[in-house]
Symmetry: C2
Subunit: 335 residues, 2 copies
């Protein structure tokens, strides 16, 4: 239990050049002061680490970002520790944008409830968190994956990829993972239920893809940008869909995705959609209605890579940005 | 009236390098021989010239093309001159892939009827031909243009552009033409009913676009590729749609469109669709049901640039590929 006047936080020390390093971050004690009337104080239990944060700390995430000296933002599961609002009583678990710190104050409308029937509350950050909602938006709402289709997912064992694979399987599709290394391929197939895995350390992507699916690719859920984007797009089947959702390579600033020639989209009669998960917050209700029961029944795999202690967040994030994670990266901050 | 043993045809003499020139083509007399049983002989009345033909003669139009020595293909309005099929009697007007020649033989299933109430049969090549069907596919089926939206159309006074503008206006949208030269801008506004025109000879495209529509662009119907594609895409409003339909700059082989960075599609939550009009042949019935009555009532403007005589086709096509046409290019071949 942390005292309210001793709030540990991770701040941005300097903007990273290229891949981030742990010394781009600093752990500081930042007393929080007293809570404003009407606000709810929350004590972070679990912190979600996600690739989009790389563009936030670069200062250019969808037109906003942070500057050095500021606390890194991020989605968390927290416990209400101080509140006058009967709708948000002390002790309940909530999801909020708590950031990389132990304590944070929020207006009640910025909080959402965490389902109580989960085997562990951190699942609300993976299956039911931003990764789950992102996968749902891409696979169900935009790509409308259907029976018998072929879905290709890069960053296949990450938070979004893991959920995208499970939603695609539930829709009756064949799933192909793209990842790096035999351990991740094992996770993809054995733990996440992918039908096939292409190991970029071993396989030529274009060759492997056409060997696995000579009929082409129905849906590509892009989380990484080029060169994978262009290679997979060339194997789209007629009428294929591409959901553009992430550009992990570009986030590090050492790479510039160009994407395929527009003539390829014409030839393939492709539909390419840009996805920003924030747009789907109003549909979170519909999403949860469908997936909370599945999560509570243990029918969705939340493949979390759990780290212990706020001080581990910088190193865990730097590994994530190098693609070295083996699942959805979560940091346990409190108990 | 041409004798059947004296069929004048335009053949490809050599593949053009870059922009085509008239001497890449040759006019030849190619006796047609006698008609096979079951075939219908057609005498060309009007020939449609369209930019996609540039990639056909380059040998790479959607995976097919022609070689030097072959007759240039193309859509025509023709009159049946020999037939044993009571469904396709001598004297009726039909639409078919007659090519750049006076006479051609077809299986009955390759023919379609031309509506009889048109003020002139050539309208079946513009308003009701491939340009009309293309515009319908892009504006109505893919982009689903609606009331109050802002639609931007390059190659604005060409066959597809003219129809796209009229369909957008009928849907209640504001239309912005992009074209080159004051005469074309006059045609766009006065004859085709565009709300605004940007003259690329005079205006900076990005500045003009944001001055006309500070709220951004709802739909961009791309017929030309870069640099216009990227410039307009940068001014898409959130949720904007782009229909990719043509790459006129690239067809000449002296330019390579790259298109915007995929991150732009994400930021704009854009939907980008590739359109190939051949896919819409099965829907031609629905298209005609809606537009034949409008065409017959004179409610659609068919802005044709008419040339006289098959021998004028090469020069007219070369001018088209230089963007010097002032409407949908049609060649009158017979009477």
């Amino acid at each position: 239990m942390t005292k309210t006047d001793d709030n540990l936080a991770v701040i941005l020390r300097q903007r990273p050049e290229g891949l981030p390093n742990p010394d781009d971050f600093a752990l500081e004690s930042r007393p929080l002061g007293s809570r404003s009337p009407g606000q709810v104080r929350c004590e972070t239990l679990y912190l979600s680490l996600d690739p989009y944060m790389r563009s936030v700390i670069a200062g250019n995430h969808l037109g906003h970002g942070i500057d050095p000296g500021e606390v890194i933002p991020g989605e968390v599961i927290a416990r209400v520790s101080e509140s006058d609002d009967p709708n948000w009583p002390v002790g309940i678990a909530v999801r909020c944008q708590g950031g990389w710190q132990q304590l944070s104050d929020h207006a009640p409308e910025a909080l959402s409830r965490v389902p109580t029937g989960l085997s562990r509350p951190s699942l609300a950050l993976s299956i039911l968190g931003m990764p789950g909602l992102t996968a749902w938006a891409g696979i169900v709402d935009l790509a409308k994956v259907g029976e018998g289709e072929v879905v290709v997912i890069p960053a296949a064992v990450g938070g979004v990829g893991a959920m995208a694979a499970q939603l695609s399987k539930r829709a009756g599709a064949t799933t192909i993972a793209i990842t790096s290394g035999s351990e991740k391929c094992r996770i993809a197939i054995e733990e996440l239920g992918y039908d096939h895995c292409i190991d970029r350390n071993e396989d030529d992507l274009a060759e492997a893809l056409s060997a696995i699916s000579p009929q082409g690719v129905s849906v590509y859920f892009d989380l990484v940008g080029d060169p994978i984007l262009t290679t997979v797009a060339q194997q789209l089947s007629i009428g294929g869909r591409v959901v553009l959702c992430g550009l992990i390579k570009d986030y590090n600033g050492d790479h510039k995705t160009t994407g395929p020639h527009p003539g390829l989209w014409i030839t393939k009669r492709a539909t390419v959609s840009g996805l920003v998960v924030y747009d789907y917050e109003p549909q979170r209700g519909a999403f949860e209605e469908e997936f909370v029961p599945l999560a509570e029944a243990g029918k969705l795999v939340g493949n979390e890579e759990m780290h212990d202690g706020l001080e581990t967040a910088p190193e865990a994030f730097c590994q994530l940005m190098r693609g070295r994670n083996h699942g959805k990266v979560v940091v346990r901050v409190g108990e």
